[in-house]
């Protein structure tokens, strides 16, 4: 304690002109970015570095739990904590609140102390690694893409795949088998592209497409054991709203769902998954692998503007030992009462308890719909939580669970409506959720400077066991082909 007091005094004497005794107490909270006020965090998260948006020349921030306190100071508005001190404090505070106090030196040389705010440290840890694609918020064109993996316990990053090794091709749709870093898949498009399947670091390049498919796979999900890959093929048309605030609209003129078996290199489907009168998309496995959830809507007809009348149901179908069931169940109906909604991107928690989906007014590309919100179904009792404390006025979507089913990461455009960023929220044993917080960055102004969107953030328990060099090598190989199997 004495040491901390000494550091604090030294700081104030060194950097501040005014006497720190003159600190004026304010009864308002500071304006900080990212907004970490009142959030809940996992105990293993990197320090919550932030910017003080209130006009100031220097800042001194203290984080306290019981009699322990750490401080961060700077001669601008950037607050960066020492990672070692942060970890030590947070480990002591598990299950409790930490109190953060911001003291700022204003332009007039006066010191102001804002009202303190708390951050709750949950008992549940979060998976240490987050994978996402970095892309400009305009999916029509791309250049210099990369899929990056970040250790969220600190600030380490590494590329899984980047434009240098793919000849600037598109890459997307990375997915893990329920957070398992040893079983994952992502796509590289272009001449030497293919689906890159990782099984314990051994990479295979696959051509998951048969002649009768409308396209290669677009949205997909791996079964827990990594044997099956359920995916949709989509003929995607990008459109542009005349209203600049709405920006893009992306829709499918055709889409079907298939299942690939990575042991036999066979692809199968069913008339229920590839109905010519309907568009089926966004498939995912249940945690036990015995159901496939997907979204389904009548095929878009005639005019592009009819997309506003296309609403996707959430549907499930049985799946066992590679066999697709003979009937579907509608879990969420797109049309109920006076309201019509469109369900997108279902994701099931690894413990099988919850299913979270995205709800938009219409269509199949929620990232550009400001009204897009997350909804959570309790699969045990069928109730739906509208996640009021989680959703924002801008798009909230592309969500996945952590391996312990206690944390959810999603891409949110809440800050500016254009650039998506990874946000996390906690689900406790009673299904209560918390205010989301943004992925902390080493440099607090990272998000201000970044001109890319974080696309499809996905958590994994560990780092992927391969490097870009391995991806570069596998891309030079021939793709493994798949054959179509008749309906089982």
């Amino acid at each position: 304690m004495k040491r901390l007091y000494l550091i604090l005094t030294l700081f104030l004497l060194t950097f501040c002109k005014s006497n720190p005794v003159d600190v004026k107490q304010l009864d308002i909270l500071p304006t900080i970015y990212p907004d970490y006020i009142g959030v809940s965090i996992p105990p293993n998260i990197a320090p919550l570095n932030f910017l003080v948006r209130d006009s100031c020349k220097s800042v001194l921030v203290s984080v306290a739990f019981e009699d322990k306190k750490i401080t961060a100071s700077s001669r601008n508005n950037h607050v960066r904590f020492d990672i070692g001190e942060w970890k030590a404090l947070i480990n002591n505070a598990i299950g409790n609140d930490i109190e953060i106090t911001v003291c700022a030196e204003k332009e007039d040389g006066e010191f102001y102390q804002f009202k303190s705010f708390s951050v709750h440290v949950e008992k549940d840890s979060i998976d240490a690694y987050l994978t996402y694609r970095l892309i400009e918020p305009d999916y029509e064109v791309f250049s210099r893409l990369k899929i990056e993996q970040r250790c969220i316990e600190n600030f380490d990053r590494k590329d899984i795949c980047n434009h240098n090794i793919t000849n600037n091709s598109c890459m997307n749709c990375h997915t893990f088998a329920f957070n398992n870093p040893n079983t994952s898949l992502f796509y590289v498009r272009g001449a030497n592209g293919g689906a890159i399947l990782n099984r314990n670091g051994m990479l295979r390049k696959l051509n998951i497409k048969t002649l009768d498919m409308a396209s290669s796979s677009v949205y997909g999900h791996l079964s827990k054991d990594g044997r099956y890959f359920v995916f949709s093929t989509n003929v995607i048309i990008p459109g542009l709203h005349a209203d600049a605030a709405k920006r893009m609209e992306v829709f499918d003129t055709k889409s079907d769902v298939y299942v690939a078996d990575f042991e036999t290199n066979e692809i199968t489907t069913s008339p229920l998954l590839s109905d010519t009168a309907r568009s089926e998309t966004f498939p995912c496995f249940s945690s036990d692998g015995r159901k496939i959830f997907f979204c389904s809507a009548p095929v878009l007809k005639n005019n592009v503007n009819d997309i506003k009348n296309v609403h996707y149901d959430l549907v499930s179908i049985d799946f066992e030992n590679g066999k697709i069931g003979s009937h579907t169940d509608t879990i969420v109906k797109a049309e109920y009462g006076d309201r019509q909604i469109s369900v997108c991107l279902p994701a099931v928690s690894p413990d099988g308890k919850y299913l979270i989906y995205t709800e938009a007014d219409y269509g199949t590309f929620p990232i550009w719909h400001k009204e897009t919100e997350l909804r959570m179904i309790d699969l045990q009792n069928g109730t739906t939580d509208s996640l009021l404390g989680v959703n924002s006025r801008n798009s909230d979507t592309y969500h996945t669970f952590s391996s312990n089913s206690k944390w959810v990461v999603f891409a949110s455009k809440r800050d500016d409506g254009l650039y998506g960023k990874p946000y996390f929220f906690h689900i406790d044993t009673d299904g209560k959720t918390t205010k989301p917080f943004a992925l902390p960055q080493e440099y607090p102004d990272f998000y201000d400077n970044c001109l890319k969107s974080f696309n499809i953030p996905e958590l994994s328990k560990g780092a992927v066991p391969f490097s870009t060099k391995d991806v570069e090598s596998v891309l030079k190989m021939e793709s493994e082909d798949f054959i179509k199997e008749s309906h089982k």
Binding site: I165, A242, R247, V304, N305, L418, D445
Partner: protein, 465 residues
């Protein structure tokens, strides 16, 4: 005057000539280099440099490039770096070869470097790496007298990290000197190490061997591209709103290019003279029939961004601006950041406009611009312009799957019938396509029915047909 002095004077003179040539033939190229990136004063931004090799020359290159905004600075810096490289070459070659051969080599180097500047994708990092390679070898040589392979390898590693391909220059200079000193056992070692280092570079910098070897980038000598320079010049003068100059540049061409024609007509449209001036053009280029996609050159994308912004279609302007951003150096284009800020001020999307303001606040050149465009403290003049622009925005609720300009123009006119620029573009497009009946229908709908008759001779003549 001694031969030595004459030699030195010839190098300096050639540099002076190169400065003048760069300024006369390539000043807009230098300006576009500056526009095509953004250098921001941020610890986070500086830290990004550490994740790739060639950190020093890339950082210095980007730092210096921001000053290319000002006239003369780009050519001065390029010529100065070439001269410094010549001085360092002189320090090396003059000691190794006889005077005549050394002079020929150095002169050749100077000429080659001058011509590499004419490559359309040229970046100043290249000259900095060349200079660093020569300079670092000379310093190393002075410290270690070319003795001991271990210090040489250590230096090579440092040179690679700081200046990328400069390590190859270092290794070659070392090898040549070793050969000259008949140290046949070691002359090959450094070039071999220089070829091996990028293999390990892959681990740290996550790019291909070829990229790692040539990082930041190697250029071949090229001849000046006067077509590109003209293209950059007209876009730049339009950017600075030097409309008289744009007009002058366009009409002094034997035949207007598509690009200069579009800029010329954009100027006329803002002067309310589009229908008057279009008659004198053999093949009028309006921009209404231009389509842009991922294969379009950056100049075309930039041009269409200006065009849609002029018409008032902020959705299309934003699309073009983000496209230009995507295809710029490091996906950051300062002109487009400014334009994206303007677009979002017009649409009233304050949060996103503020994001761009925050980036520009961290630049040396644009911080005043950022201050004037901060949505919370908007400059009075800027606010007036933004509000004026907002009146003409597209308020339709449609979705488009192409950039069919006829639909866009009609939506703009339905949103605000007073959008005279959109009206003239619609009517003039009808006429240059020879669609007189469509013209008459459009004129009736948007001029007669709205009670806004536009009595331009071109229209009166077409209506009488």
């Amino acid at each position: 005057m001694t031969h030595e002095k004459l030699k030195k004077i010839s190098f300096v003179l050639l540099s002076l000539v190169s400065f003048m040539v760069f300024h006369i033939l390539y000043k807009y190229h230098f300006f576009i280099q500056e526009q095509n990136r953004v250098f921001i004063w941020s610890e986070q931004y500086f830290a990004e440099y550490l994740s790739q090799n060639s950190i020093l020359t890339r950082f210095l290159g980007d730092f210096l490039t921001q000053f290319f905004y000002y006239l003369y600075v780009g050519p001065v810096i390029a010529a100065a770096l070439i001269l410094l490289s010549v001085i360092e070459s002189y320090r090396y070659f003059d000691k190794i070869f006889d005077k005549k051969l050394s002079y020929i080599i150095i002169l050749s180097i100077e000429i080659v470097l001058i011509f590499t500047v004419f490559d359309n994708s040229f970046k100043i990092d290249y000259l900095l790496s060349i200079l660093f390679g020569l300079l670092s070898y000379n310093i190393h040589s002075k410290c270690f007298k070319n003795e001991g392979i271990v210090p040489a390898v250590a230096s090579l590693l440092i040179v690679y990290y700081l200046a990328g391909f400069a390590q190859i220059i270092f290794a070659v200079l070392y090898a040549v000197k070793s050969l000259k000193q008949k140290q046949l056992k070691v002359f090959w070692v450094l070039p071999a190490v220089a070829l091996i280092i990028p293999i390990f570079g892959h681990r740290f910098f996550q790019t291909t061997y070829k990229n790692n070897l040539a990082y930041p980038k190697l250029y071949a000598p090229a001849l000046p591209d006067s077509y590109a320079e003209f293209s950059y010049s007209i876009a730049t003068e339009y950017y600075f709103k030097h409309f008289d100059k744009v007009e002058q540049m366009a009409i002094t061409q034997d035949t207007m290019t598509a690009q200069s024609g579009i800029y010329y007509n954009m100027v006329q449209a803002q002067r309310d003279l589009l229908p008057d001036k279009i008659k004198s053009q053999k093949i009028p280029e309006l921009g209404t029939l231009v389509h842009i996609d991922e294969n379009s050159p950056l100049e075309a994308i930039n041009l269409m961004n200006d065009f849609y912004y002029l018409l008032g279609d902020m959705a299309m302007a934003e699309r073009a601006a983000i496209m230009a951003q995507v295809f710029s150096t490091e996906n950051r284009n300062v002109k487009m950041i400014k334009r994206l800020c303007e677009i979002n001020l017009v649409t009233g999307d304050t949060a996103i406009a503020m994001k761009y303001v925050r980036i520009l606040e961290k630049t040396l050149i644009y911080k005043d611009w950022a201050k004037r465009h901060n949505p919370y403290t908007l400059d009075e003049k800027v606010e007036k312009e933004i509000l004026e622009k907002r009146k003409f925005c597209n308020t339709s609720n449609s979705i488009r799957i192409n950039d069919n300009c006829r639909e866009i123009l009609i939506e703009l006119l339905e949103s605000n019938p007073e959008n005279t620029i959109a009206l003239d573009y619609l009517l003039c497009t009808d006429l240059i396509l020879g669609q007189v009946n469509t013209f008459k229908a459009d004129y009736y709908k948007f001029c007669v029915q709205n009670g806004r008759k536009r009595l331009k001779p071109l229209y009166i003549e077409a209506l009488s047909k």
